[in-house]
């Protein structure tokens, strides 16, 4: 793991477990761990505190703030961290009520059941509602395939769930529990509330007001294949500056399209005023992009991502693209025209059949212009899956190369596994994540 990323995760864990340390040193602490009742009750309290802090931090990770992106090495990685943290928070919070009622079992199961059901204690009911809401929304995210805009809409309700959870942690101590959890408990609860609600409000309301998205218009739409389109966006005013391989969030203002923003990889070279994106009709939104018209107003937020050759520690060597994962490499290859590489660059572009390749003519042109750039087209139906052995046959030694991968998860996983087995350092493998959900 990169040092920066390690620092990021360490900071998250440190902040998450701070209330547990406060509980131990300023609160009940070891004095309370004498018997089964006290141990289970204490674990119940700690899981509530830690889970709630993690829940608040998930909102921080979804703010798209640049320095967080720098720490995790790209927004795609930040969203992965957001998912892992959210899932972990849910797992910990699920154990919170269970540990709290364990003290009644097996002697007084009835009492345990009463604690788990809604009652006249609203401070506890808020907690029950928050947990049920969190379960429902995380379930929708992880285990269902609802349309992106519907999922995004439902996901925003996690803010409401957080408010309910905050009401629970503020009211439960005074009204119901009366536990002396630790000195300064209300300061802690306020800090958690401020972090969570502040980040949520920033993402939902403030960000768009503070940082206006750049205005663009659809300049051209070109059909590359049956289900693949190239869309060019021209700036209305000042164009955004970006690096090849980065991505943007685009909101199309067309009456037939949903208004939420979607991430698209930039396929044009660094800082080119005309932004080119290549879209494959994979999802519900992308399949409706045929409705788009030239001149439609577009807002562009970004750029994001760190999948860029300019950030490499040494000259890039092996680029591996699967399917529509070619888009960042089109941009990076374009870049080579203006910044010729010192070492050889091999682009392995794999699709199931030859019909699925896009922008091959453009890439062949670049290959002709840049002597150190080599394009290898790989039809997996005919030639079998692209493996590291196949790659080694063309590039020679695999150990001293730097790898860039973008494409289907299964392809990335199998290649990364073999590359690591061959002794390549993890820091020399760069992966662009496709799916944000």
């Amino acid at each position: 793991m990169e040092i920066k990323k390690l620092i990021g995760w360490s900071a998250i864990l440190l902040i998450s477990f701070t209330p547990a340390a406060l509980w131990y040193f300023l609160g009940a602490g070891s004095n309370e761990l004498h018997n089964y009742d006290e141990i289970t009750h204490s674990i119940g309290e700690i899981t509530g505190l830690v889970g709630m802090t993690m829940f608040a931090l998930t909102f921080v990770l979804s703010t798209r703030i640049r320095f967080i992106e720098d720490i995790f090495g790209g927004l795609d990685k930040v969203y992965i961290a957001h998912g892992i943290l959210g899932g972990t928070a849910l797992i910990i919070l699920l154990s919170h009520p269970i540990f709290l009622v364990l003290k009644f079992i097996p002697e007084n199961v009835k009492q345990a059941a009463i604690y788990l059901l809604p009652s006249s204690y609203w401070s506890v009911n808020f907690g029950i509602l928050a947990l049920l809401g969190m379960i429902a929304l995380v379930y929708l995210t992880l285990f269902t395939k609802i349309k992106y805009h519907k999922w995004k809409f439902t996901h925003e309700f996690l803010g409401l769930v957080f408010i309910l959870a905050l009401l629970h942690i503020f009211l439960v101590r005074g009204k119901v529990s009366g536990d002396d959890i630790f000195k300064g408990y209300y300061i802690y609860a306020s800090a958690v509330g401020l972090i969570g609600l502040g980040s949520f409000s920033y993402s939902l309301f403030l960000k768009n007001r503070l940082f206006k998205a750049a205005k663009y218009r659809v300049a051209s739409i070109r059909k590359l294949k049956d289900d693949v389109y190239e869309i060019k966006l021209a700036p209305e005013h000042k164009p955004i500056s970006y690096k090849s391989g980065q991505f943007i969030f685009v909101r199309f203002y067309n009456e037939r399209l949903p208004k939420e923003s979607h991430p698209f990889t930039i396929a044009s070279r660094s800082n080119h005023p005309i932004i080119k994106i290549i879209v494959k009709a994979l999802g519900d939104f992308t399949s409706r992009l045929t409705e788009l018209k030239v001149g439609d107003y577009v807002s562009v937020e970004g750029p994001y991502g760190r999948f860029s050759v300019k950030n490499s520690k040494k000259a890039a060597d092996v680029w591996i693209a699967g399917g529509i994962g070619i888009t960042p490499f089109i941009s990076m290859a374009e870049e080579l025209r203006f910044n010729p590489p010192k070492n050889d660059v091999y682009l392995f572009y794999t699709c199931r059949t030859s019909d699925e390749f896009v922008c091959v003519d453009e890439l062949r042109k670049i290959e002709a212009e840049v002597p150190k750039f080599h394009l290898v087209l790989w039809e997996s139906k005919k030639m079998g899956h692209l493996t590291l052995e196949n790659i080694a046959r063309i590039v020679g030694r695999v150990r001293d190369k730097e790898y860039y991968l973008c494409g289907p998860s299964a392809m990335k996983r199998s290649i990364i596994k073999s590359v690591l087995k061959n002794g390549v350092k993890k820091s020399l493998i760069h992966v662009e994540e496709f799916e944000f959900r």
């Binding site: 309370e32 788990l116 529990s177 536990d179």
Partner: protein, 107 residues
């Protein structure tokens, strides 16, 4: 990573549903049983137990001892309390840690 996350969350949800579901189900079952038991003496009200009024002689010393010994053994709660008291009586009591909690309700 997403697969592992899905797996972990899935398992946690199943465990949560099973544990909470069982506690609630058993809790309700116990409540029903209690209600049944509560109803039972109400029926027997129609047939009151006749307690003969007798002058009971105070028991002799040996008898008294046995009664006193038996009484605390009626409930486990009492038993533990007696043991605790006994312990406290046999050795000088250490300063007890301040009781910080009032566990009337889960937080």
């Amino acid at each position: 990573m997403l697969k592992k996350l899905k797996f972990a969350v899935g398992i946690a949800l199943i465990v949560f549903v099973l544990v909470v579901g069982n506690i609630i189900a058993f809790g309700m079952f116990v409540q029903e049983e209690h209600e049944k038991n509560d109803d039972a003496p109400a029926q027997s009200v129609t047939k009151p137990i006749q307690v003969p009024l007798e002058v009971v002689e105070p028991p002799q010393q040996s008898e008294k001892k046995t009664i006193e010994k038996r009484k605390p053994a009626q409930t486990s709660e009492r038993k533990s309390k007696v043991t605790k008291d006994k312990k406290q009586n046999t050795s000088p009591p250490p300063t007890p840690p301040p009781r910080r909690r009032r566990r009337t309700r889960a937080s």
